[in-house]
Symmetry: C2
Subunit: 216 residues, 2 copies
């Protein structure tokens, strides 16, 4: 019970800072996407493919990782501004980590800011960072049992991107079950199927990005 109280207080404090981030994002007119997935589902690859599309959208990225700067370097190589956060031991980004780096980004110069969360299907879904929308990425190699095993993330997300569809023929994955279970948890979920390796499905994803970010 004591533990529960501590966690509740941490979430309350987090939500207050998330609101402040939200205020700064609104002022700058930037649409903010909290991108979440398990490790290795392809979050950075999706951002690379998105940047390669020359969308005309001005995109910036905040990269969250336990350790290392690989992901920010991959984004900068494509000419987009990127800031790396190393969480040390923490398994998710929180609102304060984001608040602390916002001074390093020219928010008003962006149409979309992606916040790439730490690879983890659990805790990132609990911590708001001030985003407009949460987008979840699932590699189809993780299997069709994921929606029912990690329900919160599917419930909290506005869109689900199923990645690595080029590997479907070499696995036993039941794509219809993923869709069925994900929609049973969250009937409004928008679902995309992409392969960041072959580029299939990326155009539809980018069209959607263009639509939703207009609302900022």
């Amino acid at each position: 019970m004591v533990m529960l109280k501590v966690v509740t207080k941490i979430l309350e404090a987090n939500d207050r800072i998330a609101l402040e981030n939200r205020r700064l994002f609104d002022k700058a007119g930037v649409f903010v996407i909290n991108l979440m997935s398990a490790p290795g589902a392809g979050k950075t690859s999706l951002l690379e493919k998105t940047l390669e599309q020359r969308t005309g959208l001005r995109i910036g990225v905040i990269e969250g990782d336990i350790a290392g700067t690989d992901d920010a370097e991959r984004i900068e190589r494509l000419g987009a501004p990127a800031v790396q956060i190393n969480t040390g031991g923490a398994c998710h980004l929180d609102a304060n980590m984001i608040y602390e780096v916002l001074g390093d980004m020219d928010l008003a110069a962006l149409d979309i800011l992606f916040i790439e969360n730490v690879g983890n299907l659990v805790c990132p879904a609990e911590f708001k960072v001030g985003e407009d929308i949460k987008v979840m990425l699932l590699s189809i190699t993780e299997g069709h049992d994921k929606p029912l095993k990690y329900p919160l993330m599917f419930q909290e997300s506005g869109a689900l991107v199923l990645n690595k569809t080029d590997l479907v023929p070499y696995t036993n994955v039941d794509m219809a079950k993923i869709r069925r279970d994900a929609l049973s948890l969250n009937p409004g979920l928008k679902i995309f199927e992409v392969s960041c390796r072959t580029g299939e499905g990326i155009e539809e994803w980018v069209s959607w990005l263009r639509e939703v970010s207009k609302k900022a």
Copy 2:
């Protein structure tokens, strides 16, 4: 700083209960493996393949999941005793969750107890549950950047099982880099390559299990 103190206290309390679990495992003469991986790397599939080998080893399993009982059912279908823990929101198993279910298992009737942790590459590595050894599973579809991005789990584990090797030809994964980086973090790490889909490499894994569990 306050947060850090809270976390330290939680870990200290956890380690005390882990020692008590350890005492019960030693008394029963059972070898305990804390099995960890990202979501969908194939922990339950590895256990299924291990059980199918008719090793002569008496194996029991504690299944940890946020939600659902699928994994325990998969194990029981193969005739092994299994207990399911649902952590609710928690992203890892802790020593107390294990302690609470030990009364439901006949430990003295087992040679090996697998504790299948929640799918997560971060927090499970921080919480001892009283195990003899930590074993980490990595699906090669997660990519070769994982050791340097999630170093603690590679450092804490005694063995690393690289799964889904049947998919290597269809990906860009650099298997040599995984080995190199994992060994740079943990030079004593024992590494296996398996495919739970084709069964390749399972025999070598089972031989090793037979060896290490003798020391219990």
